[in-house]
């Protein structure tokens, strides 16, 4: 028997012995009650013990004498008991009837139509850069009394309508007045297209079927050649002039009326175009006149104002004579009205804009 077996046997015996005898040696504590005790004095104890006792029985009890005869019966009068003073509670003020609860505004959900048909996409053009999202956010058009190239938000009702936006200016009481009072102005409300009642709340039209494709890269602008005459050999000047005159078949005196100096830039021409179109009102033109393009000639004074008597119609196309007359009159009004204060033209280039031919083409203004 090796040491391990001995240890194992001893351990097992110890475990068995603890299991058998260990429980007998341990016992649970006895249960006990706790009572509260109050100490009192002997007098208090005696008083408690003396308590109320039954009265002693009486042996001799005197019998009361009967009432003497002849005595009248006692008056049996009684007064009615006074009614108890029970004050009636004051009636409470009638309360307001409960108001019927207001039904919440139930907004019926808008009818929606769901189509099973898949959206039809046009095949992209060859030069399309990329497909664009089908729907993109776009401001909802709304009707306005004026249709113009630029949309103008509805101005404050207290603001005066003018051609330009202008902030109100008032004198500062704490400083020297340096500026005259000016009334706040704003441009008249305008939208860029006619919006009918049918389109006004048409949610389906709130977004375009597709976004505008990215424009193709603009063509490289033509190289502006230097308008300054190149230095010419002194010795050949006369011969060159002679050669030029000969090539043109003109004498040297002709062509003196041609404007000198650089022509108007594209921006200057655009400024003139915008200056006229803001007054070109086609709203009162007939359908026939809206199909008529007129070319109008006008001479300008040096202060960039049109000479009214010089305005004339050079040609008209697309409509009958009466329509051309209406279209011309609308164009004339535009030139005179917007030119009354002078167009934004560079004075140094007066020779180039002394005479102007304006083509009024209303094709894009028919139905917008």
């Amino acid at each position: 028997m090796n040491l391990g077996q001995i240890i194992s046997g001893a351990g097992h015996l110890a475990l068995i012995g603890w299991a058998v005898f260990g429980g007998a040696f341990n016992s649970d504590p006895m249960p006990f009650e706790v009572t509260e005790v109050t100490a009192i004095s002997s007098e208090d104890f005696a008083a408690l013990m003396d308590g109320p006792r039954a009265p002693d029985a009486v042996a001799n009890v005197e019998t009361p004498e009967p009432p003497a005869e002849g005595e009248g019966a006692p008056d049996l009068s009684s007064n009615a008991d006074a009614a108890p003073d029970s004050a009636q509670p004051e009636a409470a003020a009638s309360s307001e009837p409960d108001t019927a609860p207001e039904a919440p505004d139930m907004v019926p959900p808008a009818d929606t139509e769901v189509s099973d048909a898949p959206p039809v996409l046009d095949p992209p053009q060859e030069d399309a850069a990329a497909l664009v999202p089908e729907i993109s956010p776009r401001p909802q058009p709304r009707p306005a009394p004026r249709v113009a190239p630029e949309p103008v938000a509805q101005p404050d009702p207290d603001v005066k309508i003018d051609d330009v936006d202008q902030q109100e200016a008032a004198p500062d009481e704490t400083s020297e007045p340096v500026q005259e009072d000016t009334e706040a102005t704003a441009r008249e409300e305008a939208t860029t297209e006619i919006v009918t009642e049918a389109e006004e709340n048409d949610v389906a039209n709130a977004a375009p079927p597709r976004s505008v494709r990215p424009r193709t890269r603009p063509e490289r602008p033509a190289v502006q050649e230097d308008t300054q005459p190149a230095a010419r050999p002194q010795t050949d000047e006369s011969s060159v002039n002679d050669a030029l005159a000969e090539a043109l078949g003109q004498s040297g005196d002709e062509g003196q009326g041609a404007p000198q100096g650089p022509p108007l830039t594209a921006g200057e021409k655009d400024a003139l175009r915008v200056g006229v179109q803001t007054c070109w009102n086609v709203g009162s033109l007939s359908s026939e006149a809206l199909r008529t393009t007129v070319v109008v000639a006008v001479s300008m004074s040096e202060d960039a104002k049109p000479v009214a008597s010089s305005i004339r119609m050079l040609s008209a196309s697309g409509g009958n004579e009466a329509a051309a007359k209406q279209a011309y009159e609308a164009a004339r009004r535009a030139i005179i009205r917007c030119g009354a204060g002078g167009f934004d033209l560079p004075v140094e280039k007066y020779d180039h804009w002394r005479d102007i031919e304006m083509t009024f083409n209303p094709e894009r203004m028919r139905i917008k």
Partner: protein
Amino acid sequence: MMRVLLSLVLACLVWAMPAFAQNGPLRIEITEGVIEPLPFAAPDFVSDNAAGAEMGRKIAEVVAADLAGTGLFREIQPDAFISRVTSFSSPVQYADWKAINAQALITGAVTVDSGGKLVVRFRLFDVFAGQELGDGLQLVGTQDGWRRIAHKVADQVYSRITGEAPYFDSRVVFVAESGPKDQRSKRLAIMDYDGANVSYLTDSASIVLAPRFSPDGKRVLYTSYESGFPRIYVMNVGSVQQRVLESQDGQMSFAPRFGPDGQAVVYSVSRGGNTDLYRMDIDSGASTRLTNAPSIETAPSFSPDGDQIVFESDRSGTPQLYIMPASGGEAQRISFGQGRYGTPVWSPRGDLIAFTKQSKGRFHIGVMRTDGSEERLLTASFLDEGPTWSPNGRVIMFTRETQGAQGSASLYSVDITGRNLRQVPTKTGASDPSWSPLQE
């Protein structure tokens, strides 16, 4: 040799000269403008006596209301005037009118001649051009007819500025309605285009429907339940005399409309549950059947040249618009949008067809080309129906009915661009308008 070469080189340079210098006037093209009402001033027409002055004030008011009512013009209020017109022949102070941005100025004078006739003269000026537009004009009429004279003045101004044909001196026949929806009485009435001068053509003893003017404006076709079922009547507006058109027992006739010659009438006949189109000569009473299909064909309307008829049919399953020759024959469908189309009316210009459309629970008045292209919806409401064209084809009047048991019908007008939607004032409920031609 050198000189020749130099000449050639310089000639080439000159040929390409535009980049260097500008020959001739500066040229620009204007393609964008604005659409806004044209401001005008219409001071009271002058007169040499108090009665005439009052008449002059009222005439100027009607002229201004006519023009402003188109949506193409905006009246400048008299309290903004700087210059006062005291004499018809005095020169115009253009600067004063320019200062208030009046682009057109209307001046006039009113006198009553020895015969009691009203004499009205007027002139129209382009303020910014500083010249008169057209010649002055003089109109003579009865004093009771002062409103017609005012309308004629406004017509002249409207035509001279816009180039459109006039339409103010016209009338509208319609159904005047009163009472609740379930017990509504209806009778024929006639009024000026602006709702003034209402007079009644029938009493409310029987229901009347869909009156239609003749091309000369002297007769009216309408449908009446006077005999218990719908029959077509023709009435002389001047004498208020009426007679029933040819009708057979057991059939219902309705939706009549004159042809452009005033002789032909197209209408619907419902017999045995089937409705077809017929054409009748109004004098002889001879009728011709134009359609013969199991579907419902109704609401016919002639083209202005009288060669074609547009009508409504449900032969495809839903009500759509079709065009066929005026003598009958194969019809061609022109409406293909979603929804139901009805009550087509050909424009007096011949280029557009107005119609009623029901789509997505709403009613619309719209216009389309005669081939069905370029459909545009002009209105949208609970119930819009029954369009009729102004004599110049620029404006459409129609019936709008509001929702609910207390809903009522009224007349509205809208420009064919979809702008200037406005209610036509009537004292009672009104429906089924038909616009007369311009009065003679």
